[in-house]
């Protein structure tokens, strides 16, 4: 008996391939629409200058805490999704991470070189170090605990 079959059927339904497909369609379209809006960051108020010093520690601790939580939940995920979806999910996550980092860097480079300034998209620029740190947390968690079942 494999670990796959330990998970109750209703919970296994959450990992149905079609549901994951649908989730990625919604996530991809949602992200494309948000990015397409362009001036999205301007909709958010700038932090109080007196509180700006706290922004870094808040961001850093948020990434570390959610990174650790995600690592722990990932172990449940691995019991739920099947062989094929596990590989598709992990490999697409890797592609997504690299794309996020490179696309963020490229868009900033283009903006600085030819548009005379930053893209002013802190969502993208801020995501690069967040993605790198989150990736490192996941990487070292799997190095520590291993990738086998």
């Amino acid at each position: 008996m494999t670990k796959d079959s330990i998970m109750p059927k209703p919970a296994k339904g959450l990992y149905a391939t079609r549901l994951v497909d649908l989730t990625f369609v919604i996530m991809g379209l949602g992200a494309a629409i948000l990015l397409g809006l362009g001036d999205l960051p301007s909709q958010f108020p700038v932090a109080d200058p007196e509180q700006v010093a706290l922004a870094g520690p808040i961001l850093l601790s948020s990434v570390i805490l959610t990174g650790i939580a995600t690592c722990l939940f990932h172990r449940i995920d691995r019991r739920g999704w099947d062989d094929y979806m596990g590989q598709v999910m992990s490999q697409s996550a890797l592609i997504g991470m690299v794309t996020l980092i490179l696309a963020g860097a490229l868009s900033e480079f283009v903006a600085l070189k030819w548009l005379g300034g930053s893209t002013q998209l802190p969502m993208i620029v801020g995501m690069i170090p967040m993605a790198a740190l989150a990736w490192a947390i996941g990487y070292f968690f799997l190095r520590w605990r291993g990738t086998g079942q």
Binding site: T2, S5, T17, D82, D83, Y84, M85
Partner: protein, 65 residues
């Protein structure tokens, strides 16, 4: 990696869904293995071998055998 999963499934007159149920994976996983789009993990390869009562190397061929 080449494999005989489709042939073995046909010999047992199983649908992809039926085989998926016996292996405790999704039908898409069976389809992906049969069409060569996915190489199964070692635990799944063992489950497949046990199900058909055959050695793994008689089901999967990495071209170096």
């Amino acid at each position: 990696m080449n494999n005989r999963l489709k042939v073995l499934r046909a010999m047992n007159d199983w649908s992809q869904a039926e085989l998926a149920g016996r292996l405790d994976v999704s039908r898409q996983a069976v389809n992906a293995i049969e069409t060569g789009k996915h190489d199964p993990s070692l635990p799944l390869a063992f489950r497949i071998a046990r199900l058909f009562d055959m050695p793994i190397e008689e089901i999967f061929d990495d071209g170096h055998g």
